[in-house]
C-alpha cells in the first residue's frame, strides 16, 4: 500500500497558497503530519480526502490517481475532519447506520454487524442509544473514528483529532487509533509533537504548504544524539543566547530562571550540560533550519 503525492499545489481565492508543490510518499503504518496552525495540514488532508480539488499535481493511491476516480478511492478511504458536527437528534447507532448506507454497505445484516463492531471497538457500545450531540469531546472523536471504520478503509485520514481532549481522553483515543493503524495507512495530523512520538512509525513536518522533512521519529531523535545541550540562564540573557547559539526552545523554571536547549555538534562551553534529545528538539531544529 502506498500513497504518493506529486507536486501538489492549491491556492485559495484570497491568494493564500495553502499547498505548494508538495511531494510525499506514505506507506503502511501510522504517519504523523506535524505542523503549526496554518501550515497547510488541513488543506492537504482535505485534498487527500477528495473534498477539494488541487490546482495542479496528483495524488496516487496504489498507483491510481485518486481525483480521476474519486468513487473508487472513497471505498477505501476513512476520513475524520478536524471539526465536524452531527445531526442533533440522532444517536450514535442511528448515525452509524446512516453512514453505513452512504458508504455502500448494502446488506442490512452486514450493517448491523459492522456498526456493532465499530461501537465496541471505539468503546461506545454502552452509549450507542444516546445522542452524539450530547457526547463529551473524546467520545465524539471516537464516534468520528467509528464512522470512518465502517468501510474497513485502507487509508485513514484524521485531522488534528486530539485537539481539545483531556489527557485521559487523549490516551484512550490514541489507543483506539493505534489498534487500527497496524495494517493500514493512517495519516494523522497534529501540532503536538507528543502525539507523533507516542504513535507514529513515520512523520513529516510541514510548513507553508511544503514538506520540510520526512523521517521516522526514532531516526529523528537518533540524528540529534549528542548534539543537544541545556543551560539555565536568566530571562534577560535570552536574546543574547539566541544570537550566539541555535536555541531550539526555552522553558521557565520555578525560580523564574530559564532553561534553554541548544543544538550544537560540540559542547558550546562548560556552562552547558549534555542532555538526551527529544522529538520536539528535532521539530524545532527543522523549523529553525528552514
Amino acid at each position: 500500500m502506498k500513497l504518493v503525492i506529486d507536486k501538489l499545489s492549491k491556492t485559495y481565492n484570497n491568494g493564500v497558497k495553502a499547498i505548494n508543490e508538495l511531494n510525499l510518499e506514505v506507506r503502511t503504518g501510522m504517519f504523523g503530519l506535524l505542523g503549526a496552525n496554518g501550515a497547510g495540514k488541513s488543506s492537504l488532508m482535505r485534498t487527500i480526502a477528495t473534498l477539494q480539488n488541487p490546482d495542479s499535481g496528483h495524488i496516487y493511491f496504489n498507483e491510481q490517481d485518486i481525483h480521476q476516480n474519486k468513487m473508487a478511492f472513497r471505498k477505501v478511504l476513512g476520513y475524520l475532519p478536524q471539526e465536524f458536527g452531527v445531526y442533533a437528534k440522532d444517536s450514535a447507532e442511528q448515525l452509524l447506520h446512516y453512514f453505513a448506507i452512504l458508504k455502500g454497505i448494502s446488506s442490512k445484516k452486514d450493517r448491523n454487524k459492522i456498526v456493532e463492531e465499530a461501537l465496541h471497538l471505539t468503546n461506545l457500545y454502552d452509549v450507542r442509544r444516546k445522542r452524539v450531540s450530547t457526547y463529551s469531546g473524546g467520545m465524539r472523536q471516537r464516534f468520528g473514528i467509528a464512522q470512518l471504520l465502517l468501510n474497513n478503509p485502507q487509508l485513514i485520514i484524521v485531522d488534528e483529532p486530539t485537539a481539545g481532549l483531556d489527557p485521559t481522553e487523549r490516551n484512550r483515543f490514541l489507543n483506539v487509533l493505534r489498534d487500527i493503524g497496524s495494517d493500514n495507512i493512517v495519516i494523522f495530523s497534529t501540532h503536538l509533537v507528543e502525539d507523533v512520538k507516542d504513535l507514529c512509525s513515520e512523520m513529516a513536518i510541514i510548513r507553508k504548504g511544503s514538506i520540510l522533512s520526512k523521517v521516522a521519529p526514532i531516526n529523528a531523535i537518533r540524528s540529534l544524539e549528542g548534539k543537544i545541550w541545556k543551560k539555565i540562564i536568566s530571562k534577560s540573557d535570552l536574546e543574547k543566547m539566541k544570537a550566539r547559539f541555535k536555541v531550539l526552545s526555552s522553558s521557565y523554571n520555578e525560580d523564574n530562571s530559564l532553561s534553554i536547549r541548544v543544538l550544537a555538534v560540540e559542547k558550546p562551553n562548560d556552562t552547558f550540560v549534555a542532555i538526551a534529545p527529544t522529538l520536539e528538539d528535532y521539530y524545532f531544529s527543522i523549523l529553525n533550519l528552514n
Binding site: 485559495y12 481565492n13 482535505r46 480526502a49 477528495t50 473534498l51 477539494q52 480539488n53 468513487m71 472513497r74 471505498k75 478511504l77 476520513y79 475532519p81 471539526e83 465536524f84 458536527g85 452531527v86 445531526y87 442533533a88 437528534k89 446512516y98 453512514f99 453505513a100 448506507i101 452512504l102 458508504k103 455502500g104 454497505i105 448494502s106 446488506s107 452486514d110 450493517r111 454487524k113 459492522i114 463492531e117 465499530a118 465496541h120 471497538l121 468503546n123 461506545l124 457500545y125 454502552d126 452509549v127 444516546k130 450530547t134 457526547y135 463529551s136 467520545m139 468520528g144 464512522q147 471504520l149 465502517l150 468501510n151 474497513n152 489498534d179
Partner: protein, 1171 residues
C-alpha cells in the same frame, strides 16, 4: 450600546445584497401589478363611466394589504435573522458575556430589522406612485393623485401590521432560537385569519375585530359602500378599524412584555423546554466501559453499483423523511392542513349560502386546493432544510467523503419530500372520510380520492419538490431560495398582468379540472396530462442541473462549481438530458399548437374591442331592419356522447308578420357551432362575420306579408382541442340550449329602450314570437335524450342508438333545452299532470322536496291565476360544471343544476328549503315569463323575476309559515344591500331594472311586492296580477312594459297607496331605522306602560330625507317570552325622531321595529329592543 447594536445590524442589512434583491423585487412586482391592472400592456380601457379607480384610497389600501402579506415573509428573514444570527454562528456565547443590557440588545435587534422592512415597504409605495404617473390621469382607471391615500395606508395598516408581526416573530425566534419557527409563526397568522373568517361568518363584528391584518375591519366598515364611494372616500380609520388596531397592539404589546421579562442573555434559553413535546430527561453523566473483545472490524461488501445506489437512495430518503415527520413543524403543517380542510369544507357543508353534502368531488376540489397550498409551503421549507441540513450540522465533510453518489444524494432529498407529500395526502384522505362519516355521508368514492390525490395532485406537488431542491441547491442561502420559490409560485399570475396568456410560461399551473358525477373528469384529462408532461420534463431538466451543481466537498467559487458541473456532464447525464429536452420541445410544441387552435377559435388573435367595432361598422346599419318570425322548427339532433359531438339539421319555417315585404335576412348562428345555411330562395350574401358568426342576406324575391319560407341549417359543434372544450356535448350529462340554433335579427343594441318608449312594446325580451318545435333526437344506447314538448315516439337499440321524437303541444317561448345522460327517472301524476324527475342515480335525497315545490306552485297559481298549460313537467338534472347552481324553465322542461340535488337540506333546516323554493319559482315562470313575455325594455325583469319571486314567497309562506317567510325576506334585504354595494355601474329604480341587476329584480322586487300584498292584501294584489296576466297572455301584437303594469296597479288601488308605489318602483328607497330606547313601567293591575323612542332614516335616491318631507306607515311589534306576537302597533310618522306610548296587558319580552320586514333596512340589528 443600543445604538451600537442597532447600527451594526442596520449596516449589516444595508450592505447585504439580499436587502436590495427584496427591494427591487417588491418594486418591480408592485409596478407590474399597477401597470398590468391599468391595462398598460394589453390596451387601455376605454370605458370611463363608473369604473373602479385604481388609485382611490380604497384601492391603494387594498393593494397595500395584498403586498403586506408578502412582506410578512420578510419578517422572519430580516427581523428573525437579526436575532437568529447570533445563535446560528454561536457568537452568543461571546456576546452574551459582554455587559449589554437586555433592553439594548432586544430593542436594537428588533428595531433595526423592522426599519429595514419598512424601507423595503416604501419601495412598494414608490412603485405604485410611479405606476399611477406612467398610466396618467387620461387613463380611465386613474383618478387624481392623492398622497393621503398612501399615508393613510402606511400609518394605519402597513406600519402597524409590520410592527405587530415583527414583534410576534421576534418573540418566537427568541424563544425557540430557531428561524423556521419564525416562518411557522407567519403561516399561523395566515391560518388564524382564515379560521376567523370561517368561524365568525355569522358574527361579522367579531370577524372584523379579530382579523390580524385589519382587512375584515375595513370590509365591515365599507361593506355597503357603492362604487362611487369606494372611488372617492377615504378608508375609515375610526370605529371597528380603530378597535381592531388597538386590540392587536394590545396583544403584541402584552406578548412582548411577557417575553421581555423572561428573556435573559444566557447560554441556555430560558424557554428551553417550550418547544419539545416530551420533557427532557435529566442528563446523566455518560461513562463508558472498556470492552476489548472486538479487535477488528469485519470486512463488508462495499457495493456502489447502480441498483445498490438506487436502493440506498430510498433508504436515505426514508431516514430523511422520518427526520422531517418527527419534527414539530410537521405536526403543525399537518394541523394547518386539516384545519384548512375542515374550514373550507364547513363553508360548503354548513356556513355557506347552500349547505351541500360532503361529496368526494367537493372534498377534492376547493378544500384540497387549500390543503395543497400548505403542502407546497412545507415543500419549500423542508426542501431548504434538507439541502442545507448536512452543512448546518457540520456533518457535510463526513457525508461527502463517502461513496454515496451525487445523484442518489440529490435524489434522496427529492424522494424524501415526495414521501412527505404522500403522507400529507394520505392524511387528507383520512380526514376527508372522517368528515364524510361525521356528516352521515357513507358513499365513499375511494377510487375518486386516489385518482385525484395521487394521479392528479401528487405529480403537481412532486414538480414543486424537484423545483424546490433545484432552487435551494443553487441558491446556497436559504432565504434567497425561499424567496425565489415563493416568487415563482405567486408570480405565475403576473404573466397574465403582462398580457401573456400562454400555459407554456405558467409554471406547474393547470386549468381547473372540473369533476362532475355524471361525466367524471370528462375529456379534460388528456390536456391536463399534456401540460403535466411538459412541466415534468422541464423540472427534471432542472433536477439534472441540481445534480450537476450539487456541492460535494468544498468549492470556493462559481467558476469552480461550473467546472465541476462540466466534469459531471458524462454520457450518462447527456442521454437522459437530451431525452428530456426532446420531451420538453415535443410537449411544448403540442401545447403551442393547441393554444393556437384555441386562440383562433376564440378570436383571441384580435383584441376584443376591435372585433365588436368591426362588426358594428359592417352590420350596424341593419339594426332596425324588420325580420320574419320563426314560426316552426323541425329539428333532427344526433348526440354522440363518446365523441363529444352533435350533428343537427334544422328546418325553420319563417313567416313575415309585418305589413311590408322583407328582402333582407339577418342570421346569427351558434357561437360555438359550425353552421351551414341553405336558404330556399334565391339570394345574395351581403356581409358576413366569421368571428361573430353573423351574416346578412339579400333575397332576390322579397318575402311578402303573411308569406312563409323555409331555411335549412346543418349544424355541428366545433371540435374540442386538448386544452379547450368547445363542445357542450360530454360523455354523460349533456345540456344543450337554444343557443346552438340560429336566430334572426340584430341583437347588439347598445342601449335598452326605456319602458316609457312605446316602440318597445313591439318586441319582447327574447326577440322571438311563440313557436312550435318538433325534435327527433337520438343518443347512444345507454342514455336518455330529452327535448321540449311531448314525447310522441321512442325507439331503442337501433344501430346501438336510442331515438326519441318530441313535439310541443302548443307554441312556446324561444327557450329550449336538449339533454342526454344516463338518467334515472322518478315519476308521479298530480292533478292530471305527469311530473317526472330525470336525475343521476345517486342524487335522490331532494327529489321529493322538489316535487312538493312543483305541486305547491301548481296549486297556488291555479287558485289565483289559471291552470298549468301542459300535461307534463320534466325536471332534468344537469352537471354543476355546465352552468351554476340554479334552474331555468324551458317550455315544459326545467333543467336543474346538480347542486339542487345534493344540497344537504337537513343541515339547512333553519335556512331556506332551496329545492322546494327553486322549483316553485321556476314553475311560476310558466305564468309570468312564458305566458306573458314582457317588452324588450328596461324593467322587463321586474315583470318576470320580481313577480315570480313574490309568488314564490307566498307559496313558501303557505308551506312553511310566517317565521320562514321572515327569514327569507331578511335574505332578500341583504341581497339587495350587498348587491348595490357591489354595483359596478349605476343602480336603477325597479321599473328600469337592467337584466344583470339581479339584486334589484329579485332582492328588492320580492320585498316590494310582498309589502304591497301586506298593505293591499294578498287577494287584492293577486287580482291585479291576474288582470295583467289575462290582458297580455300569449299576445304577440303588443308586449307589456313595467309602466303598463304599474299603471294597472295604480288604477286598482286607493290613492293613499300611490306614494308607496312611487317609492317602491320609481325611486331608490331604503331605510336605516332603529329603536333608540324603551321605557316601561308595570302598573298595579299588571298593565305594562311602554314608551318607545325610535328613529326613521329614510334614504331616497341616495339622500336622507328631512323631517316633514315624508309620510310613513310603520309597524312596531311586541313579543312575549315565547316570541309570540302580542300586539302590532301601526304608527304614522313624518319625522326622524319619534315616540310612541302605549299600554299592554301581557308581559312584553321584546319590541321590534318593522317586525314583518316590510322595509329594506340597512341595519336590522338595532331594530330590536329586549327588555
Amino acid at each position: 450600546m443600543k445604538s451600537a447594536i442597532f447600527n451594526y445590524e442596520l449596516k449589516y442589512w444595508l450592505t447585504s445584497p439580499l436587502t436590495y434583491l427584496f427591494a427591487i423585487a417588491f418594486f418591480a412586482l408592485a409596478l407590474v401589478m399597477m401597470l398590468g391592472t391599468g391595462g398598460y400592456f394589453d390596451g387601455t380601457p376605454t370605458e370611463s363611466a363608473n369604473v373602479r379607480l385604481l388609485n382611490s384610497p380604497y384601492e391603494i389600501n387594498f393593494i397595500f394589504q395584498y403586498f403586506g402579506k408578502f412582506l410578512l415573509f420578510l419578517i422572519p428573514v430580516i427581523v428573525g435573522t437579526c436575532l437568529y444570527r447570533d445563535y446560528k454562528s454561536r457568537s452568543f456565547h461571546i456576546t452574551y458575556s459582554f455587559p449589554i443590557p437586555k433592553a439594548d440588545y432586544l430593542f436594537g435587534k428588533l428595531l433595526s430589522g423592522l426599519s429595514i422592512i419598512l424601507i423595503i415597504s416604501l419601495f412598494i409605495g414608490v412603485a405604485l406612485m410611479l405606476g399611477e404617473w406612467m398610466l396618467g390621469t387620461e387613463n380611465a382607471k386613474i383618478g387624481a393623485f392623492n398622497i393621503w391615500a398612501y399615508l393613510c395606508s402606511y400609518t394605519f395598516f402597513t406600519i402597524p401590521n409590520l410592527l405587530f408581526f415583527s414583534v410576534l416573530v421576534f418573540i418566537v425566534v427568541g424563544m425557540s432560537r430557531n428561524i423556521y419557527a419564525g416562518f411557522i409563526a407567519v403561516l399561523l397568522l395566515f391560518l388564524f385569519q382564515i379560521i376567523v373568517e370561517n368561524v365568525f361568518t355569522n358574527n361579522q363584528f367579531l370577524m372584523a375585530l379579530l382579523d390580524p391584518f385589519g382587512q375584515n375591519a375595513i370590509s365591515w366598515e365599507t361593506k355597503l359602500w357603492t362604487r362611487a364611494e369606494k372611488n372617492t372616500q377615504f378608508i375609515p380609520v375610526m370605529g371597528i378599524v380603530l378597535y381592531n388596531r388597538l386590540l392587536w397592539a394590545g396583544i403584541t404589546g402584552t406578548a412582548f412584555y411577557l417575553f421581555y421579562k423572561k428573556f435573559e442573555l444566557l447560554h441556555e434559553s430560558p424557554f428551553n423546554n417550550w418547544f419539545s413535546f416530551f420533557p427532557k430527561k435529566n442528563k446523566k453523566n455518560i461513562t463508558t466501559k472498556i470492552n476489548n473483545k472486538v479487535k477488528r472490524i469485519s470486512t463488508a461488501v462495499i457495493d456502489t453499483s447502480f441498483p445498490t445506489q438506487l436502493r440506498a437512495m430510498f433508504e436515505i430518503a426514508l431516514i430523511d423523511f422520518k427526520y422531517m415527520a418527527k419534527n414539530w413543524m410537521f405536526v403543525l403543517f399537518a394541523l394547518f392542513g386539516l384545519l384548512a380542510l375542515v374550514f373550507t369544507l364547513l363553508k360548503v357543508t354548513n356556513t355557506g349560502q347552500f349547505n351541500l353534502l360532503p361529496l368526494t368531488r367537493i372534498i377534492v376540489s376547493t378544500p384540497l386546493f387549500f390543503y395543497s397550498l400548505i403542502v407546497i409551503l412545507a415543500t419549500f421549507l423542508y426542501g431548504g432544510m434538507l439541502v442545507h441540513r448536512a452543512k448546518n450540522s457540520r456533518m457535510n465533510q463526513l457525508i461527502d467523503a463517502t461513496t454515496f453518489a451525487n445523484w442518489s444524494l440529490v435524489g434522496s432529498k427529492i424522494v424524501a419530500l415526495i414521501l412527505l407529500q404522500i403522507t400529507l395526502l394520505c392524511l387528507l384522505l383520512l380526514g376527508g372520510i372522517a368528515i364524510q362519516i361525521y356528516n352521515g355521508y357513507f358513499h365513499f368514492e375511494l377510487g375518486q380520492y386516489l385518482f385525484q390525490l395521487f394521479v392528479i395532485t401528487l405529480p403537481m406537488l412532486a414538480i414543486w419538490a424537484i423545483y424546490s431542491i433545484f432552487v435551494h441547491t443553487l441558491s446556497r442561502n436559504l432565504f434567497i431560495g425561499l424567496f425565489v420559490l415563493i416568487l415563482t409560485w405567486l408570480g405565475i399570475d403576473g404573466f397574465e398582468q403582462l398580457g401573456l396568456h400562454t400555459q407554456l410560461l405558467k409554471f406547474n399551473t393547470y386549468p381547473t379540472l372540473n369533476y362532475n358525477d355524471f361525466n367524471g373528469y370528462g375529456q379534460q384529462l388528456s390536456g391536463h396530462f399534456l401540460l403535466k408532461g411538459y412541466w415534468l420534463s422541464v423540472v427534471n431538466i432542472l433536477g439534472i442541473i441540481a445534480y450537476l451543481f450539487w456541492e460535494r466537498g468544498i468549492t470556493t467559487s462559481w467558476k469552480e462549481r461550473f467546472s465541476i458541473a462540466k466534469n459531471r456532464m458524462s454520457r450518462i447525464v447527456w442521454i437522459p438530458l437530451l431525452m428530456l429536452i426532446g420531451a420538453f420541445l415535443l410537449f411544448g410544441f403540442k401545447i403551442y399548437q393547441e393554444e393556437l387552435k384555441t386562440a383562433s377559435a376564440l378570436g383571441f388573435d384580435k383584441p376584443k374591442g376591435k372585433i365588436m367595432s368591426n362588426f358594428k361598422s359592417k352590420f350596424g346599419k341593419y339594426a332596425h331592419t324588420p325580420q320574419p318570425q320563426i314560426d316552426f322548427i323541425n329539428l333532427e339532433l344526433a348526440i354522440f356522447p363518446k365523441q363529444n359531438n352533435f350533428k343537427a339539421k334544422a328546418i325553420y319555417t319563417l313567416k313575415n308578420n309585418t305589413s311590408a315585404p322583407i328582402d333582407t335576412l339577418l342570421i346569427k348562428t351558434g357561437f360555438d357551432e359550425i353552421t351551414e345555411t341553405f336558404i330556399q330562395k334565391k339570394y345574395t350574401l351581403l356581409e358576413t362575420d366569421s368571428i361573430m358568426q353573423y351574416a346578412a342576406y339579400q333575397l332576390q324575391e322579397s318575402l311578402l306579408p303573411n308569406e312563409t319560407m323555409s331555411i335549412h341549417f346543418d349544424i355541428k359543434n366545433k371540435s374540442n382541442t386538448l386544452l379547450m372544450r368547445n363542445s357542450e356535448v360530454i360523455k354523460n350529462g349533456t345540456y344543450l340550449k337554444q343557443d346552438i340554433l340560429p336566430r334572426l335579427g340584430y341583437f347588439y343594441e347598445e342601449t335598452k329602450k326605456e319602458p316609457s318608449d312605446t316602440t318597445a312594446r313591439t318586441d319582447n325580451y327574447v326577440h322571438s314570437n311563440y313557436l312550435n318545435i318538433e325534435t327527433k333526437i337520438s343518443t347512444s344506447e345507454a342514455q336518455i335524450a330529452i327535448a321540449p314538448g311531448d314525447l310522441i315516439a321512442e325507439k331503442g337499440g337501433e344501430n346501438g342508438r336510442n331515438y326519441y321524437h318530441y313535439k310541443t303541444p302548443k307554441k312556446v317561448k324561444f327557450n329550449f333545452s336538449f339533454h342526454s345522460a344516463n338518467y334515472k327517472k322518478w315519476g308521479e301524476v298530480y292533478k292530471d299532470i305527469d311530473i317526472a324527475v330525470f336525475h343521476h342515480p345517486n342524487h335522490t335525497n331532494n327529489i321529493e322536496k322538489m316535487v312538493s315545490g312543483l305541486k305547491a306552485a301548481i296549486d297556488y297559481n291555479l287558485k289565483y291565476f289559471n291552470a298549468y298549460p301542459f300535461k307534463n313537467i320534466r325536471v332534468v338534472e344537469y352537471p354543476h360544471t355546465a352552468e351554476g347552481y340554479s334552474a331555468t324553465l324551458m317550455a315544459n322542461n326545467i333543467p336543474t343544476s346538480e347542486i339542487q340535488f345534493i344540497i344537504n337540506t337537513e343541515a339547512m333546516k333553519d335556512k331556506i328549503d332551496m329545492p322546494f323554493y327553486v322549483m316553485a319559482h321556476e314553475l311560476t315562470h310558466q305564468w309570468f315569463g312564458n305566458d306573458v313575455m314582457p317588452a324588450d325594455a328596461l324593467g322587463a325583469k321586474m315583470l318576470t323575476e320580481s313577480i315570480t319571486e313574490y309568488i314564490s314567497l307566498q307559496i313558501y309562506k303557505q308551506a312553511f309559515g310566517q317565521q320562514a317567510l321572515n327569514n327569507f325576506l331578511q335574505l332578500q334585504h341583504k341581497r339587495y344591500l350587498r348587491g348595490r354595494a357591489k354595483e359596478a355601474k349605476k343602480e336603477h329604480a325597479l321599473y328600469r331594472v337592467k337584466s344583470e341587476q339581479q339584486y334589484i329584480a329579485y332582492g328588492k322586487g320580492a320585498t316590494v311586492f310582498h309589502t304591497l300584498s301586506h298593505y293591499l292584501g294578498e287577494e287584492k294584489l293577486n287580482g291585479v296580477l291576474k288582470a295583467y296576466l289575462m290582458q297580455y297572455k300569449n299576445r304577440t301584437d303588443t308586449y307589456p312594459t313595467s309602466l303598463d303594469f304599474i299603471a294597472m296597479l295604480q288604477e286598482a288601488t286607493d290613492e293613499s297607496f300611490h306614494y308607496l308605489i312611487d317609492d317602491f318602483f320609481k325611486t331608490k328607497t331604503f331605510y336605516d331605522n332603529s329603536i333608540d330606547e324603551v321605557k316601561y313601567t308595570t302598573g298595579e293591575n299588571g298593565q305594562q306602560q311602554l314608551i318607545i323612542a325610535f328613529t326613521i332614516n329614510k334614504y331616497q335616491n341616495d339622500e336622507l330625507l328631512a323631517d316633514g318631507t315624508f309620510q310613513e306607515d310603520i309597524e312596531i311589534g311586541f313579543f312575549n317570552e315565547n316570541k309570540e306576537v302580542v300586539h302590532i302597533e301601526k304608527v304614522k310618522v313624518g319625522n326622524k325622531a319619534n315616540r310612541v306610548t302605549l299600554e299592554l296587558g301581557d308581559k312584553i319580552q321584546s319590541v321590534v321595529l318593522d317586525p314583518n320586514y316590510l322595509y329594506i333596512d340597512k341595519n336590522r340589528k338595532n331594530n330590536q329592543y329586549k327588555m
